[in-house]
């Protein structure tokens, strides 16, 4: 039956309908909903791994044991998983193995804008690039077939506008999952140098066979129209091309690595002007130019940064675009903020006050870098907060500066790759204050389970790791619990941690209010006591606002938004704030 689903949901359904047996991944926008949907469908085993490397390694194990397997992650996750990927390309697979990677052109929710097609070339493996939800659904099955036919992992790449765009999907007949033989094959799976050398030759031979396949597969489809203009494209760019030029001739690449040289040559020869439309890097264009084929319009007219759209494509050809009024300028920005009563608010209020250098990490707490907090000064990648802080402290010591850096990291990120940084910090006698915000949720991506939440992706109860003994076991003696809702205590704890030489870990164990649906009575402001000093506004809460303009506007609380954490009350020297008795926030 027809249904409207996102690209991520389509991949999950394609996996469940396509004989999938095992799936593992790490949450990361825009890939996250894929495994969540596999879990919701409830037919195939799936799990969150501690990080992307672990997820891919587990999927490799699943494939070797004979089950069709899937690993999911976002583009930056592939950097973490690159190590097993580059050897997986040598071993090949037993049952089909798909690495789903979601790129984020336009950086809607990412720290960089990398193009994963490079990884397919780097790893010398096939990559499929679906153009809508139906394509995504169908390509999962095809990817399993290619994987098994050519003994190779297959990358299935999406972008934000595929992963999160919803379109109509007609599901196909379901394949009953079957687990094949668990084969012991030492030369295939043990990558000692002698076996690896043989495998590299096989990898190159496989790529040639895949090139032949690329020439004939319907994944790469020519849609001949007006021969004045021919466009080579793939993924969501195909849709933008169709929108911009419904009558143009198009070579839609579904298999984007390796490229079908003969097909491209034939297509280029059949049109007067050749255009290559691809988001981010000039990967097709460079390869096509290297074939000796002239590309008239490509990255000379289209951007390397951000998303492509139909107007950009029209404009690249000098065609008129729809006239739109200019956006209204000077409006207040509306950046995302800590939720009302989020435990991070108290911490960053104090860190902002102390003006100490904060080495940050990837998660909700990254918002602590935004005004008015401005209390996070570097964010590099998952787990880097602790290791970077260590490096800073070492160089500070060499320079004779005595400032001790603070690292802030969440629980999921700590389990992902913060643990190894902390181990290294302890091992090397480093000097940093590490604050672990253990809210028992992978908050930024929607509150997914992790090794600290006590539940698996499929909702089963499981062991819940205890953060304090874990941190001690990594070699940290000073481990102190923290309550960030208590500003005075938080400030005292941070000062103590900064004054004590050597590694020092503070752990806040207040849960994510959004994930655990925590409700508290709202606050209100006594307008007679409020002096309009605005000290409370430093906590950057959506629930606070100034009264309509007057000589000196006073602060008021929106009871529909406030969740009564009382952090703002602690900023008030005039005792103007108190709880509304018996009233609960309805809007969180």
């Amino acid at each position: 039956m027809k249904k409207i689903i996102s690209g991520n949901e389509a991949i999950a359904l394609g996996f469940t309908d396509g004989g999938g047996v095992f799936a593992s991944g790490y949450p990361g926008t825009p890939s996250t909903e894929t495994l969540e949907e596999v879990a919701r469908l409830g037919e195939v085993y799936c799990e969150w791994a501690a990080n992307e490397k672990v997820a891919l390694e587990a999927a490799i194990g699943g494939s070797i044991a004979g089950g069709r397997s899937l690993a999911t992650m976002k583009h930056v996750g592939v950097n973490v998983a690159a190590d097993p990927l580059m050897t997986l390309t040598y071993t090949g697979v037993n049952a089909g193995l798909i690495l789903m990677v979601a790129d984020d052109p336009g950086m809607h929710s990412s720290q960089n804008e990398q193009d994963s097609r490079h990884y397919a070339r780097f790893a010398k493996i096939p990559m499929l690039d679906p153009a809508d939800s139906q394509d995504a659904y169908d390509m999962v099955r095809t990817a399993f077939e290619i994987s098994e036919q050519f003994d190779t992992p297959v990358m299935l790449r999406t972008t934000t506008r595929i992963s999160h765009a919803k379109g109509v999907v007609v599901p196909r007949e379901k394949i009953t999952p079957q687990v094949g033989e668990w084969v012991k094959d030492v030369p295939k799976y043990v990558m000692l140098p002698n076996f690896g050398k043989i495998k590299h030759v096989e990898v190159e031979a496989r790529l040639l066979k895949l090139q032949e396949y690329a020439e004939t597969t319907p994944l790469n489809r020519v849609e001949m129209g007006d021969t004045e203009l021919g466009i080579i494209t793939s993924g969501v760019s195909y849709q933008h091309v169709r929108e911009a030029f419904p009558n143009a001739s198009v070579l839609k690449l579904g298999l984007v690595h390796p490229l079908p040289e003969r097909k491209i040559r034939e297509f280029a020869g059949s049109v007067k002007r050749l255009m290559v439309v691809e988001e981010m890097d000039a990967i097709f264009e460079e390869q096509i130019r290297a074939m000796g084929i002239a590309v008239e319009i490509g990255k000379n007219r289209l951007p390397l940064c951000g998303e492509i759209n139909a107007d950009l494509i029209r404009a690249a050809l000098g065609d008129p675009v729809a006239e739109a009024a200019a956006p209204v300028e000077g409006l207040p920005q509306r950046p995302p903020v800590f939720c009302p009563s989020c435990a991070h608010r108290g911490l960053f209020t104090i860190l902002s006050k102390l003006k100490t250098f904060v080495s940050g990490d990837i998660g909700c707490y990254t918002l602590g870098a935004l005004p008015p907090m401005g209390a996070m000064h570097s964010v590099i990648d998952m787990g880097a907060s602790i290791s970077a802080a260590h490096g800073m402290a070492r160089v500070n010591a060499i320079a004779g500066r005595d400032e001790k850096p603070v690292a802030v990291i969440g629980d999921s990120t700590f389990f992902h790759s913060g643990m190894t940084g902390l181990l290294s910090l302890a091992f090397n006698g480093g000097n940093a204050l590490v604050i672990i915000m253990d809210n028992r949720a992978t908050g930024m991506t929607g509150g997914q389970e992790n090794p600290g939440t006590g539940k698996t992706l499929q909702g089963n109860p499981t062991r819940q790791v205890d953060m304090v003994p874990l941190v001690k076991a990594l070699g940290i003696d000073n481990v102190v619990e923290l309550n960030t809702y208590d500003l005075a205590a938080t400030e005292a704890a941070i000062r103590k941690g900064l004054e004590t030489p050597g590694p020092y870990v503070l752990i806040d164990r207040n849960p994510c209010v959004l994930r655990y649906k925590i409700r508290k009575p709202a606050m209100t402001v006594d307008q007679d006591k409020c002096t309009g000093c605005r000290a409370c506004l430093k906590v950057a809460c959506m629930a606070l606002g100034l009264t309509a303009s007057g000589e000196k506007p006073k602060v008021q609380v929106d009871p529909n938004v406030c969740n009564g954490c009382g952090v703002c009350r602690q900023m008030c020297k005039f005792d103007a704030m108190h709880e509304i008795e018996g009233e609960n926030n309805a809007n969180l």
């Binding site: 027809k2 409207i4 926008t29 825009p30 809607h108 929710s109 809508d132 934000t160 506008r161 999160h164 765009a165 919803k166 379109g167 109509v168 969501v236 849709q239 933008h240 169709r242 929108e243 998303e307 759209n309 139909a310 107007d311 675009v321 729809a322 006239e323 739109a324 009024a325 200019a326 956006p327 209204v328 409006l331 207040p332 920005q333 509306r334 950046p335 995302p336 903020v337 800590f338 939720c339 005004p371 008015p372 930024m444 991506t445 605005r534 506004l537 430093k538 950057a540 809460c541 959506m542 629930a543 606070l544 606002g545 100034l546 303009s549 929106d558 529909n560 938004v561 309805a586 809007n587």
Partner: protein, 190 residues
Amino acid sequence: MPIFNIVIAGVGGQGVLMASKVLAESALAGGLDVKQNEVHGMAQRGGSVISFVRMGEKVASPVVMPGTADLLISFEPLEALRYLHYLKPGGRLVYNQVSINPSTVAAGLAVYPDDVEEQIAAACDNALGVDALAIAREAGNGKAVNMVMVGTVLKDLPVTEEVITEVVKQVSKEKGVEVNLRALAGGAAA
């Protein structure tokens, strides 16, 4: 039939995505092709959210271009102003008049303009402001603002009211069906 482009704007947590789902499902139920797309992730709470719904015989791109929206539905006045340039000339704007402070305003770093509605009226002669919160509360739940907003555009859509009402029934939680239907009707009467 040309493609009908809808842009829905609001603040994270207001139910923009649920409203988008109702419109998209209604298009499918009404026999049209449809694509829906939004940007979320970091904008989960309190941030500016924008969603596109495109319906027609065959829809290619999931993205609505500025200057091409037939309909802009905004759950908040400032967000209506922010995305007004998506409307095509003569396009219809319906917006909720209940404002929500951005964090920058709450922190005293920016000022919420006190003439948002005047600016909207000056820039768009096909605009309607409604107090969606009051209508939602009257329907039984302040959270039903999203269904009120769908109600306000019932007559503008290339799908029948019967189809949309049926979809609202299907996607609502059992407890919320009656409230949502009242909110839909309240929006339609606004």
